[in-house]
Amino acid sequence: MTAPSKAELEDYRQDVAAWLQANRPPEPDFMLPLTFMEVGTEAQFDYLRDWQRKCYEAGYVGAGWPTEYGGGGMHQAFQDAASKEMAAQNVPIMLNAIGLNWAGPLLLDIGCHTDRARYLKGILTAEDIWCQGFSEPDHGSDLGNAQTKAVRDADEYVINGSKIWTTHGSFAKYMILLARTDPDAVSKYRGLSFFLAPMHAGGVETVPIRKLTGEHGFTQTFFTDVRISASCLMGEENAGWGVAMRTLEYERGARGGQGNSYTISTPDASRIFDLAKTVQREGKAAVEDPVIRDKLVQFMIEARALSLNNQRQSITPLIQDRPQSLPLQSKLAWTEFILRLNEFAISLQGTKAAYYVGEPDAIDGGLWHRGYLNAFSATIGGGTSQIQRNIIGEHVLNLPKS
């Protein structure tokens, strides 16, 4: 498929923009999740599922996926443009993140026709919610050491063990699951296999985890003699580590084909300027304080750098000596930025920094406090910032493994 011209993409973007303006759903009477990891209530879940379906029906989810699997059959650049426009308009996020952006692209790249036909459309419509089973209570950053077992028994595998931080665990129909099929492998990485596992199988139990914000959003998932079909295996047995690593590349944006990558809305950072104008220091607007002005500009410079990094990635002469450098640092830089921005926004609030969500006098309903606490889900989840630095050090700067 030939890449669309700039003019074609711009026309398309304008269509998306117009549709979003006309179809943006009404503000709910509850706080909307800013990221797919923050869906904690049925009301939030239903609202976002309806919204994703509506966007899918308009053609803005899976536009780049083949039509035979429910996609739009267009060049992926159109979908990426639509996702970007949704972010620019700060509409509610797409719910089915793990299906759209991890499992889906993986199936399209290395899945068989049967699996694609079975799974892809339900991902796009949000009919079938997906979750991910990589981390375990004792194996977070050391993912390769995962111990949940999958033992082959005729044409089935029997799963025993436990996964944690399962986003959408209580809503999901399927899980991408990393489990140990060979406990005696010479290398821990060579004993793992990758499954597309049904969550409704007997013996699967999900227990909600209460987050530091007081809300729910993750589960711990227990597997007790869970029997799944051997056809759930993705890739070869004991070759699951490579599949999992490939999956993480979609997550980090280092590989394309996402169904709709808009699953995390960035807080509208310009609101910190409004905040700085409304709160007071020594009887004057905080925005007049020279130290606060300096900090505000620092955030502005950093926000711009991140946006410019994205633009620079498409300018080959400026990235060709290290093509993975900008994609691999994007998660680290963004998530740490969001954390610090929220922290600064709290400190701007003076004595009201003490208020939290639920207090009627809290500034912006406690948005910044909740944002700050939730921001850790992104600096920790999907590989902590410390692991990200290892990855950049090893894969971009060619430093030896830690």
């Binding site: 002005r293 002469p317 050090g393 430093l399």
Partner: protein, 373 residues
């Protein structure tokens, strides 16, 4: 926040980047950098002539004056690559002098000097004074008209490459307003230039005593246009120093990574230790952000408003990124890092120079705050 920031890159920029990358790597190995540091002149005239032959001095000179007719955007990749190899020479000085002339010179001055600069004539600007102010309009030096001549007085500081330059453009107060006047170096009296000892030993810098010097009235810049010169030079200089610092950041990170990849302690290559790996990654992330800002500033430089915003952001980010990387470079080389032989000091000294020329990060952020908040 502001989503207006853009970055673009022309074919000419891409060509120049590639040529400059190869040229600077080949012509400026660190052994040459150190050899030139010890010389009086501070640069190699043969290499300067090669740069002129490549057309680099004519990049931003309009075609009507014998130039290529491109702009500062195309000069940036060249300076970036020079910075990466710490290449010595009066390239930034000469480019700034040409920019000053273009914006504020009289037609006669431009017609006379720009073609000469475009083919390798060296020029510089004399802007700083004892007050150490980054505001280029804070000028005490004077040019007083008497007997049909301009009599100059005062002292300019940090005049880069003044000893090599054939022409020096000097900021002075004239009839109560900031102006510029052109000096020909052959008319300077004995002892007018004193070489300064500066932190970056690869650079050459001089004090220029104006007392007793007189020049014809025609040496003054165009009275109608000279006011624009100071803003333009301030931003053009900030852009070029940002480019040099971005290149320097890349150079010092590469230099340090190489050490982290080979040096062993406690039986392990030290780059495997996260106490060293993570900060060098942070330095790399800072460098990449600085580079995005740099090329955004380059491509927006001529735009009213946006050019200034992007350039000030680039300068603030490049200065902090280069300084952090070079500071850590010394530390991560351990005992060797404390020696004169370790190249980390060359980069750190240069970053101290660059960060504090034409406004440091705090200064530019203050300007940005006044502009944006």
């Amino acid at each position: 926040m502001d989503n207006q920031a853009t970055i673009s890159f022309s074919e000419e920029q891409a060509d120049l980047l590639e040529i400059a990358e190869n040229f600077c790597r080949d012509k400026s190995p660190v052994s040459s950098v150190r050899a030139l540091m010890e010389s009086d002149l501070g640069h190699a005239p043969a290499i300067w002539q090669e740069m002129a032959d490549l057309g680099w001095l004519s990049i931003a000179v309009p075609e009507e004056y014998g130039g290529v007719g491109l702009g500062m955007a195309e000069v940036v990749p060249v300076v970036e690559q020079m910075g990466r190899r710490m290449m010595a020479g009066p390239f930034i000085s000469t480019t700034l002098a040409a920019q000053a002339l273009l914006v504020g010179g009289t037609e006669a001055q431009k017609a006379d000097l720009l073609p000469k600069i475009a083919t390798g004539g060296i020029a510089t600007v004399a802007l700083s004074e004892d007050n150490a102010d980054w505001n280029l309009s804070n000028i005490a030096a004077k040019a007083d008209l008497a007997g049909g001549k301009l009599h100059l007085s005062g002292t300019k500081t940090l005049v880069a490459d003044a000893d090599s330059a054939q022409w020096i453009f000097v900021s002075v107060m004239h009839k109560g307003a900031a102006s510029m006047v052109m000096l020909r170096s052959e008319t300077l009296p004995e002892g007018a230039l004193r070489r300064e000892t500066i932190i970056d030993e690869t650079k050459r810098s001089y004090q220029l005593s104006l007392d007793g010097i007189s020049v014809p009235e025609s040496a003054l810049f165009d009275a109608e246009r000279v006011r624009e010169v100071f803003d333009h030079i301030h931003l053009a200089a900030a852009l070029l120093v940002s480019a040099e610092m971005c290149g320097g950041a890349r150079g010092v990170i590469d230099y340090t990574v190489e050490y982290l990849q080979t040096r062993k302690q406690f039986g392990k290559v030290i780059g495997s230790y996260q106490a060293l790996k993570h900060p060098i990654v942070d330095a790399h992330v800072g460098y990449e952000q600085a580079r995005s800002h740099l090329y955004s500033a380059a491509s927006n430089f001529t735009k009213q408003g946006e050019g200034e915003i992007a350039t000030r952001m680039a300068k603030a980010q490049a200065g902090e990124a280069f300084s952090f990387a070079a500071d850590r470079a010394i530390q991560f080389h351990g005992g060797f890092g404390f020696t004169y032989d370790c190249d980390a000091q060359l980069y750190r000294r240069r970053s101290l120079w660059g960060e504090n020329m034409y406004g440091d990060a705090i200064y530019h952020r203050k300007k940005l705050a006044d502009f944006l908040l």
